[in-house]
Symmetry: C2
Subunit: 225 residues, 2 copies
DNA sequence: AATTACCAAATCATCAGATGACTTGATCAT
DNA sequence: ATGATCAAGTCATCTGATGATTTGGTAATT
């Protein structure tokens, strides 16, 4: 049976306002009616209006300025892509993360400095190889290295999205596979740093793709395709 | 001068609770203290607690069940990365979109079919070249083509994120540059389709990067770097 | 003993009213 | 003109109360 989601007043109100925003009732930078007016127009209390507005603020649609009013900040939908990503297949999530990883490696090569290379080598040494115990600690150190590679791109968007997908993939694997994927060894990791150090974007990207290829094959096998 | 962000009580409270969640004070599925208790613990009113919780719900961290309580749903932030992307530089946004575009082209080549190629050629013909009038219509047709290229990857995550970044970049350009970037001509567009048709991921990616190179140069020039 | 119907406590959802803090534009004196 | 002052408008927060829903226990029934 389909359990129909009786949305709360707050959700309805947020959706109503969101629809007006993307429908260009108010253009970017324009001011919305004040809370009392919205409350009257939507026939809900001011507290409920505030919760709805707060949601839209957290999603990047609106901005509130105390003493001034509430303004439209953007009409681009940011909820769709991510709620979609949550429900996407593990394969799609992996491919998306690989896209970020590959581009980050290119940029990292382009913008590499000796300092960064040294730091990457330090993190890699600290990571070590899995010694059969303290799994959580090893995973953390491994992730720290990969995140540092992406951070070397000096692109905050890539970094944030990479972290998001890494977390998402971790949750999805836990929920669907219930076990881990194989992890490339130290040499494969070092190859990425070496490629970045050359300063050649093509080589850096190629190194990342070589790195990920066996993981992807492993994934395909586990998913039975 | 650095304008220090005096965070509101709601933001502080949301951040405090968020920190506890990612710090695993409560595990996934576990129940949080009720609103009255949170209100007391944080020394803020219940209404403020509700707004903070509402934000975390909209970000995918929490779930509220009326009559039951508030529960941890996930420790992965679902909107942080993209709201962060909103405030990022145009350059970073472009690089992120390029990452998606390049990976999508690779996958499109890998999964290409005659039907898809035909459709892409049709959309490209329909797009035509800019005739000096009906700017909005041309932009729409151009976007339809690019979106179709990404859609050919058959990866819903890439498609949704690509659409998000395209919209975001459009807004950012309008807000910062106030004008348009040059648009590659028909031949450059056709080269992408041809490359995808060969079925070679390397060629497809290369075609996209060749396509974007002049746009990126144009962007660097306009940003004065 | 198992099942069902009912009830009461717990909790979130919503409302209403009030006060404080901040912004903004107008006013006024210089 | 310029700067200080002030008042209105608006969001931020608090307090108190009521409604709606879930949940677990209790008792009646089978």
């Amino acid at each position: 049976m389909q359990s129909l989601a009786k949305t709360s007043l707050v959700d309805s109100a947020a959706e109503a306002i969101r629809a007006e925003i993307v429908g260009h009732r108010w253009s970017v930078g324009e001011k919305l009616p004040n809370e009392a007016q919205l409350s009257a127009q939507l026939s809900i209390s001011r507290g409920t209006v505030r919760e709805a507005v707060r949601v839209l603020v957290s999603q990047g649609y609106l901005e509130t300025r105390q003493g001034s009013g509430t303004y439209v900040l953007s009409v681009v939908d940011a909820t769709g892509p991510l709620t979609m990503a949550r429900r996407a297949t593990l394969r799609d999530q992996f491919e998306a993360r690989l896209a970020l990883d590959a581009e980050a490696a290119r940029l990292a090569a382009h913008r590499q400095t000796p300092t960064v290379i040294t730091e990457l080598r330090r993190l890699l040494a600290e990571r070590g190889n899995y010694d059969g115990q303290d799994k959580a600690g090893f995973v953390d150190r491994d992730f720290a290295f990969h995140r540092a590679v992406v951070a070397a791109s000096q692109n905050s968007v890539l970094v944030n999205m990479y972290e998001f997908f890494s977390g998402l993939i971790g949750e999805t694997i836990e929920a669907t596979l219930g076990k881990d994927l194989q992890e490339p060894d130290m040499a494969a990791h070092a190859a990425i740093v070496d490629a970045i150090e050359t300063g050649d974007p093509e080589m850096a990207e190629a190194a990342v793709r070589r790195f990920m290829a066996p993981v992807l094959r492993d994934l395909e096998r586990l998913l039975g395709s």
